[in-house]
């Protein structure tokens, strides 16, 4: 069941147990599937309470200085505009500025202005009494029955024991000298080398711990290929606000018509020369197939990358004639063909989705 899969993916994403690849897919899905984002939020709410039990640790005072330096001159509004303007990796991406961010939830400051008591170690929130009564009315099975108390205390003790240091652990060495985060941490050779050594799959790829998260752009230009065929007309592409992006060079294209419609995620793994298409709620009509095309440039003919959509994930090796550089700069399209694909080696049916490859974290300076 699709929903069970999404729930399992969301739960393990929040818990943290997904593999690197699965996290990539989950994060891309978060960008395009609001239903999935909602499920993730539910899991963050459920499991987030566990953070209450984590011991607070004072960071070095210098951290605030660096944060403040980065924040200077960046207002939340202008930050949003900056993000929208950034993904011009290749020329012809007709991105428009995203809609204005939703209005801040109308939170009126309490009157009179609150006096904030700043304590070094925040203690967990304690709900006020009336709320406690209300909750016990609504959830009678959670009233303090003896067994529940035992369960809770036992699990709390288990959690505490897991959070406690192990007896043989040594006291940490004094913190390393910290160089400022901006410019890039040249001084942190040790960290970067360690990361590369462990990261077997990304040999030779620079692991950039950049403070600027790259942006995954959803690029739609259906009319370019099939004017008039799609009744929705030109769709405004949506730029997604900066999200935590996977470290390392990853190329992802999202092919979509509108945020809630079926979509395809195309991921290219340059190191292993494979590509993966993930289908998000797209079922071709009976007797029809989706076929994926690569369009290297306006002047070249589309080249087929095969049928997609039959399984949730389709991974194939790159045909030898396709090179990574071409794939990096190309446009992609998915057409609706007769079952088995186009008989002609070129799209015969309507082009329903298009997208463009975006490097999610540049391993090297973006081309052009």
């Amino acid at each position: 069941m699709y929903d069970d899969d999404r729930d399992a993916l969301a739960a393990e994403y929040v818990l943290g147990t997904l593999s690197a690849d699965e996290r990539d897919q989950a994060e891309a899905l978060l960008a395009i599937d609001p239903g999935f984002a909602e499920i993730v939020r539910m899991w963050e709410r459920r499991l987030g309470e566990l953070n209450v039990m984590v011991e607070a640790v004072e960071p070095p005072p210098d951290v605030w200085n660096r944060i403040r330096a980065e924040v200077e001159g960046v207002t939340p509004q202008s930050a949003a505009e900056m993000q929208a303007a950034t993904p011009a990796l290749e020329e012809s991406a007709p991105l428009t500025v995203p809609e204005a961010a939703p209005e801040t939830a109308a939170v009126a400051p309490p009157e009179p202005a609150p006096e904030f008591e700043l304590t070094p170690e925040p203690t967990p929130d304690v709900p006020s009494e009336p709320v406690l009564d209300l909750l016990s009315e609504q959830a009678p099975d959670l009233a303090a029955a003896p067994q529940d108390l035992d369960d809770t205390s036992v699990v709390a003790a288990l959690a505490s024991s897991l959070l406690a240091p192990e007896p043989q652990a040594e006291m940490p060495a004094p913190p390393e000298t910290i160089s400022p985060l901006i410019p890039p941490p040249v001084g942190r050779g040790a960290d970067i080398v360690n990361l590369q050594r462990g990261v077997r799959r990304w040999r030779g790829v620079t692991v950039a711990m950049s403070a600027l998260a790259a942006i995954l752009a959803i690029y739609i230009a259906v009319e370019q290929f099939a004017p008039g065929l799609v009744p929705l007309g030109r769709q405004a592409p949506t730029a997604v606000a900066a999200r935590p992006q996977p470290v390392g060079s990853r190329l992802v294209a999202v092919l979509q018509q509108e945020p809630t419609a079926p979509a395809f995620l195309l991921t290219l793994d340059p190191q292993n020369r494979t590509y993966t298409v993930r289908t998000v709620s797209a079922t071709p009509e009976a007797g029809r197939s989706y076929e994926l095309w690569l369009i290297a440039s306006k002047n070249s003919a589309p080249r087929s990358l095969g049928l997609v959509g039959g399984n949730e994930f389709t991974t194939r090796p790159l045909p030898a004639s396709f090179d990574v550089a071409t794939m990096r700069g190309a446009n992609y399209a998915i057409s609706l063909e007769p079952a088995g694909g186009s008989p002609k080696g070129a799209p015969t049916g309507p082009i329903l989705f298009t997208g463009k490859m975006v490097e999610s974290v540049p391993g090297s300076p973006p081309p052009g």
């Binding site: 943290g16 147990t17 505490s160 990361l195 606000a241």
Partner: protein, 181 residues
């Protein structure tokens, strides 16, 4: 201690570019986030970097915070945790022996949380966790607090990876059903 409503108010002010509010928000939340990050990343330098990235995101995205969806601290910790786990996951599956010791900043165990200090949500979660087998509880808690992958969990607990995967999936379903919506 800042109550959630005060944090929400601070975030609202931050969304308008109020740097003083941002500093107060930082002061109220920094130790919790840093504690969470240290536990997952194990290295102070990395934890500090992710602190910076997270608070910068908070600064930029404060106007997108919706108090109906999450509490401020959950929202912020989720951002920090996601980034931290991205980092450790990309590091590749380092064997437990090579993994730097999770940073132990205190040589004593943290005092157990008194029941009266627990939020209702936390009590409910712990009660639901309590219905799982002890080994499954352990796996879920270790995964959440330490940010370990399935392979690392399998190695640490000497259990096959496929078993870890099955147990995790089942445990999470049971937690969801127990907690309701």
């Amino acid at each position: 201690m800042l109550m959630p409503t005060e944090l929400v108010w601070l975030l609202g002010a931050v969304a308008k570019g109020d740097e003083a509010a941002f500093e107060r928000l930082y002061d109220a939340t920094r130790a919790k986030l840093y504690g969470v990050l240290l536990r997952i990343l194990g290295r102070p330098a990395l934890a500090e970097e992710v602190m910076q990235e997270t608070y910068l995101k908070v600064w930029k995205m404060a106007d997108q915070f919706d108090p109906a969806i999450a509490s401020p601290i959950t929202w912020m910790v989720a951002m920090a945790r996601n980034r931290a786990i991205d980092i450790v996951r990309k590091r590749g599956d380092v064997s437990i022996e090579d993994e730097p010791e999770a940073l132990e900043v205190a040589s004593e165990a943290p005092p157990p949380l008194a029941r009266r200090e627990m939020t209702e949500e936390l009590k409910r979660l712990l009660s639901c966790l309590g219905k799982l087998d002890p080994e499954k509880q352990r796996i879920v808690l270790l995964a959440y607090y330490s940010g370990w992958s399935r392979d690392q969990l399998a190695q640490k607990l000497d259990i096959p990876v496929n078993t870890i995967k099955t147990w995790l999936r089942r445990s999470l379903i049971e937690i969801r059903e127990c907690m309701g919506n």
